[in-house]
């Protein structure tokens, strides 16, 4: 609050004082009092007035600054009414009461929304677990076929089931990618094992897309969550199969020790990504030229990858040349005292 703003609010009081001063001056002059005496009185009056307003201004200013400071310290600013302290002025008390009441209704609205969201999330989670049952059953039926003809049909259904499974997993991880959800267990993880499990999970889809994969993982272990890593790697492998150049494709997975960590590169020989689009591939809902023209993309897969990577402390980056290759690099940090 500036001094002018303060004085503007105090305009009536100022005007009353000024007119009173004028009236007194006129009265005293008319009563024959010496002009120097009148001026002395007016100067004294004005002096007291200035001191009065200056003190009041300083006090009000400090009061608002304190509230301002509290407001900035709060991580939930809407709780201000509860913590702003008891003012001495009854006008301020009134305002505080109004702020508190208004905030209370906001808090109630937020609680209600949070509850609704929580319920919805719980429903989605349980739905995902339920829908996995029929997928499992269908996959088992397919895998149990031994007759050549039936096997051929099963080989057409299995990749579709694999796609479905991945979509369902995406929904689950999307629901879990929220900051409040802490469902991961960081432990020493063997990258090669994670890679093999990921490939096994997407086997039917990758075979149906006629992919060849080379795995060279001569790096140390990393600290991460295997389940989350599998999901992240699945998205990258599926993308490589989706955006292959011809009717078959090649993926090279390379794990190497680098300074302070391990770098895992997944490189394909696919259609690549335009230079102008590569910086946006991890954005939510970004589909790009490839996503629109080739496979129907939702723009969720890589977005989730980056989000999960951030939570696991993995650095994810992409490099590509259009028509040549796409490479996704995952860099796992490792503490310096690991080797000691």
């Amino acid at each position: 609050m500036t001094i002018f703003e303060y004085l503007k609010d105090r305009m009536p009081a100022l005007l009353v004082n000024l007119s009173a001063m004028l009236a007194v001056a006129v009265y005293l002059t008319a009563g024959g009092v010496d002009i120097s005496m009148t001026i002395l009185l007016l100067v004294g009056w004005a002096f007291l007035l200035v001191i009065f307003f200056a003190c009041r201004y300083a006090r009000r200013n400090r009061y608002f600054k304190e509230i301002e400071a509290i407001f900035h310290q709060l991580d939930k600013p809407y709780l201000l009414g509860e913590v702003m302290g008891r003012p001495s002025r009854s006008e301020d008390k009134k305002y505080r009461e109004i702020i508190r009441r208004s905030n209370k209704s906001v808090i109630e609205a937020i609680r209600r929304l949070e509850d609704e969201q929580k319920e919805y999330k719980e429903y989605i989670e349980s739905w995902i677990h339920d829908v996995k049952l029929p997928i499992t059953a269908a996959a088992l039926v397919c895998q149990n076929q031994t007759e050549p003809d039936a096997k051929e049909t099963a080989r057409k259904i299995l990749p579709e089931l694999s796609k479905m499974e991945n979509l369902v997993e995406s929904a689950l991880f999307y629901a879990r990618s929220d900051s409040v959800y802490q469902d991961y267990l960081i432990e020493e993880t063997d990258l090669e094992e994670v890679i093999n499990q990921t490939i096994a999970r997407n086997k039917s889809f990758l075979i149906a897309n006629r992919m060849t994969i080379e795995v060279d993982c001569s790096c140390g272990k990393v600290f991460s969550d295997g389940k989350w890593l599998q999901f992240i790697l699945s998205q990258i492998l599926i993308n490589a199969a989706k955006y292959k150049k011809e009717d078959c494709g090649k993926i090279r997975i390379l794990g190497r020790d680098v300074k302070n960590g391990v770098r895992l590169s997944v490189e394909d020989e696919g259609i690549g990504i335009k230079g102008s689009e590569i910086s946006r591939i991890f954005d939510k809902g970004f589909t790009g030229t490839n996503g629109r023209s080739r496979a129907r993309s939702t723009g969720i897969g890589l977005y989730l990858c980056r989000k999960l990577c951030r939570k696991l402390g993995i650095e994810i980056s992409a490099a590509s040349e259009e028509g040549r290759y796409t490479r996704i690099d995952l860099t796992f940090p490792r503490s310096d005292y690991y080797g000691i």
Binding site: T136, Y184, R201
Partner: protein, 223 residues
């Protein structure tokens, strides 16, 4: 033959699991009533139990805890829940392993084999070499030999030959072969398989074995 008991309330999954285990040469029994499960398991005395966590009216975890009071039969939990907490609970309840749905049949079979091996229930001698028509495939050294001549095989060639040697007399389709290779960490496509096949035949010819692998056009290969 190992006897595996399935405790799973979804009927389709139950019957398909039984079929899968039968195909993998395991004997299987399935619980159809979900009362007194620990007693039932005790009566059947299987070598391994596949236990679902979400059972009607009870949790697989509590079944396992009760079972542990009198038996140390290996238990693999099978569930559609897959949070880290669930995993932890499975282990603390006395489970030996944990597989989450939807699982791939080869993965589940591999886990079963691993648990059986780990818990020391091993009854067959491991095969170290297979011989067919005087051609010997050494499973430890990854070599193939014929009349004293030996040739070293690459990982891919070795896996291809292992599969053909274990299916002698049968026509093996290219797709079956590719799926087997993928289950054994050789991730190749049709074209690469043809290249590997040609190289393998070359190596066999070098040690004097010609026409060991027959090509059945449109069907696959036969040994």
């Amino acid at each position: 033959m190992y006897k595996i008991m399935i405790v799973e309330d979804d009927e389709t999954i139950r019957t398909e699991l039984q079929l899968m285990l039968k195909n993998a040469l395991y004997e299987s029994v399935a619980a159809t009533e979900f009362t007194d499960l620990p007693e039932q398991i005790k009566k059947e005395s299987p070598d391994l139990v596949l236990l679902d966590i979400n059972l009607p009216d009870q949790s697989g975890l509590s079944v396992c805890r009760k079972l542990r009071q009198f038996s140390d039969v290996p238990v693999i939990f099978v569930t559609s829940k897959n949070t880290s907490m669930d995993e932890l609970e499975c282990i603390t309840s006395g489970g030996d392993d944990y597989v989450s749905k939807p699982y791939q049949a080869p993965i589940l079979l591999a886990r079963i084999a691993a648990v059986l091996k780990r818990t020391g229930k091993k009854n067959e001698q491991e095969v170290t070499a297979i011989t067919y028509k005087d051609v010997t495939l050494d499973l430890l050294a990854c070599t193939v030999s014929y009349e004293g001549k030996e040739s070293e095989l690459s990982k891919n060639e070795f896996r291809i030959l292992t599969y053909l040697f274990s299916h002698t007399g049968q026509v093996v389709s290219r797709m079956d072969l590719i799926e087997y290779l993928w289950d054994n960490q050789v991730f190749i496509d049709d074209n690469t398989l043809s290249v590997n096949m040609t190289r393998l035949r070359g190596k066999l010819a070098d040690i004097g074995v010609a026409d060991l692998i027959e090509t059945k056009r449109g069907l696959g290969y036969k040994l």
